[in-house]
């Protein structure tokens, strides 16, 4: 007699959710901190806290649609508060949310090294996306991609993302 094995994808096994307060307040807090922290120390503008939160929710939920919506919402709010044309960060973070969720369902995103690689790589991807949006869509010819600066930004985002991810892990609801 042949044993029947049912296949359940990694996404179905480990999809995680968050409570509504966490879902709403964490992105809001990230955007607010992004606005307030550079007032205290201007160098902190190199960080992108909304990006870190977008990536965390995307790889944790492992749902591309949820990741896209989360990224779009956080990015649009960031655009509104930073005075940029509405849609610049919205588009970039929509892609980050989608890609993060798609990748999160295929690899182990609980590992610290994997998380570091993800944060670093997606930070660079966001820089490229912002460059394309500013340069191609908005036609800002003076916009240049300064690779060294973007590498430093990616490193800084990674350094902050790891402890933030550990902190936010406590807010997960396993399903």
């Amino acid at each position: 007699m042949m044993v029947t094995r049912s296949y359940m994808s990694r996404r179905e096994v480990e999809q995680q959710s968050f409570s509504i307060p966490v879902t709403v307040l964490v992105p809001l807090g990230a955007v607010l901190l992004q606005v307030l922290l550079p007032r205290v120390f201007h160098g902190l503008a190199v960080l992108d806290l909304p990006f870190i939160v977008t990536l965390f929710f995307a790889i944790s939920r492992r749902s591309p649609i949820a990741g896209t919506v989360t990224g779009a919402a956080i990015g649009l709010l960031q655009d509104v508060l930073t005075g940029q044309p509405i849609g610049v960060n919205g588009m970039a973070k929509s892609v980050i949310g989608y890609a993060g969720a798609s990748l999160g369902s295929r690899i182990d995103v609980e590992n610290t090294k994997t998380r570091a690689l993800l944060a670093f790589g997606f930070s660079l991807l966001q820089s490229v996306l912002l460059y394309l949006i500013e340069r191609r869509l908005l036609g800002i010819r003076a916009f240049h991609l300064m690779w060294l600066h973007e590498l430093l930004r990616a490193a800084a985002n990674t350094a902050v993302a790891l402890p933030v991810f550990l902190l936010l892990d406590r807010a997960k609801h396993q399903e």
Binding site: L32, Q34, V35, L36, L37, P38, R39, V40, H42, A45, V46, P64, I65, T68, V69, A72, L76, L77, Q78, V80, L81, T82, G83, Q84, P85, I86, G87, V88, G90, M91, S94, V95, Y98, S102, L130, I133, E134, L137, L138, G139, I140, R141, A142, F143, H144, M146
Partner: protein, 387 residues
């Protein structure tokens, strides 16, 4: 249907991106208006967001400034006496310098009036505190705690005592957004102080400030002061903007040069600002009074300096030069000037010639000739001698 089900995630992403791209296109295509940089719908969204965020920003600012105030005013008081003494000395020096500068300012205004120039002076300002920043490296904006209720409108210039900060971009009822001069979308008409070259100052994506519409000119050197030209109808003329830091060829816009300017204001650490709400053709009454006082003081100083011998040292007020400005009374006795003592006496020197009663007509002069001067065949009468 299978196609939609199979690619629903990707299709959803494409739909979201498309919607945002259309929104971006609408924002970019809309003709820019200085008074309304955003369309009505975008402005409404920004207003809601700002209304939601402003209380948090105010609270954070209040806590931060309260802690800073407590530290600086009550705890960290080291060297305060020494600083106070130094500041007083500096104030005294600046008063003297101001008196000298006021004369040049008056002369400049007279020349401008002759040439028909129309100067605009800062007429009224509103003080505001910075409560937030854009938090992005792509944009350089500040949020201040004053808005349309305080009489602010878009495009008003924002300054500090050191120089120009930027201009108002979005004005909401209780808050406003300041577009700093180092924002990529910012621009200002400027004047190089010594060469008098007019130019356009722009922000860069790296948060720097530079002039990019000038070709290479050897007269422009690092250290030259950059002032507002007044030509942009936003910033009044003559406000300090910064100092030329470096000059290099602009690889993206040949044959223009990229003249980097170091802003006069530390744009990353602005705490309080002044919004210029009105300009006027004449200085304010207080400023006029200050100028008049300084000019009078300067005139008195000049008189005291140029006419030192006319004053009697015993006259009260002579020391500070006030006597020089006072005309002599009509019945005052005429002052006879005394000749200065002779350094090298000769035969013409007063007192070196014998009196006329001792001279013999036709005889050679017995007085020795000093300095090798040829002896006169005839005695010279004493200067000033009466017959």
């Amino acid at each position: 249907m299978d196609f939609l089900r199979q690619y629903k995630n990707a299709l959803f992403l494409i739909a979201i991106l498309l919607a945002q791209a259309i929104a971006l296109a609408v924002q970019v295509r809309r003709p820019m208006d200085a008074a309304q940089p955003d369309g009505p719908s975008v402005r409404l969204i920004r207003l809601w967001a700002m209304t939601a965020v402003t209380p948090v920003e105010r609270a954070t600012h209040a806590v931060g400034s309260g802690a800073g105030h407590a530290w600086s005013e009550y705890i960290d008081l080291r060297h305060v006496r020494q600083q106070n003494k130094e500041l007083q000395q500096q104030l005294a020096r600046m008063r003297i310098e101001e008196a000298a500068i006021s004369e040049d300012a008056l002369e400049g205004r007279r020349l401008q009036a002759m040439l028909g120039f129309r100067e605009s002076y800062v007429g009224s300002t509103v003080a505001a505190e910075v409560i937030g920043a854009s938090g992005s490296e792509q944009t350089h904006m500040l949020t201040i705690d004053k808005g349309s209720r305080d009489g602010l409108r878009p495009d008003m210039a924002v300054i500090t005592q050191n120089g120009v900060v930027g201009k108002l971009r979005d004005v909401f009822p209780a808050t406003s957004e300041v577009l700093e001069i180092n924002d990529p979308s910012s621009g200002a008409g400027v004047l190089l102080a010594s060469t008098r070259i007019r130019a356009i100052l722009r922000g860069t994506l790296t948060g720097r400030v530079q002039i990019g519409n000038l070709t290479a000119d050897s007269r422009i050197q690092p250290g030259e002061q950059v002032l507002t030209s007044g030509g942009d109808q936003v910033y009044p003329r003559g406000l300090p903007v910064g100092v030329v830091e470096s000059i290099a060829a602009d690889p993206d816009h040949q044959p223009y040069t990229a003249i980097r300017v170091r802003p006069a204001v530390d744009l990353d650490r602005v705490e309080e600002v002044l919004v210029i709400t009105g300009t006027q053709a004449e200085p304010t009454p207080a400023a006029q009074q200050d100028l008049a006082d300084a000019a009078a003081q300067h005139a008195a100083d000049l008189s005291a300096e140029r006419l030192p011998g006319i004053h009697d040292d015993e006259t009260p007020g002579a020391a500070n030069g006030t006597a020089a400005a006072t005309p002599p009374a009509a019945n005052a006795p005429a002052t006879v000037p005394h000749p200065l003592p002779t350094v090298h006496s000769d035969r013409f020197t007063s007192g070196s010639t014998p009196p006329a009663s001792e001279m013999t007509p036709g005889a050679a002069s017995s007085a020795p000739s000093s300095q090798g001067a040829p002896s006169s065949p005839q005695a010279q009468p004493q200067p000033g001698a009466t017959k």
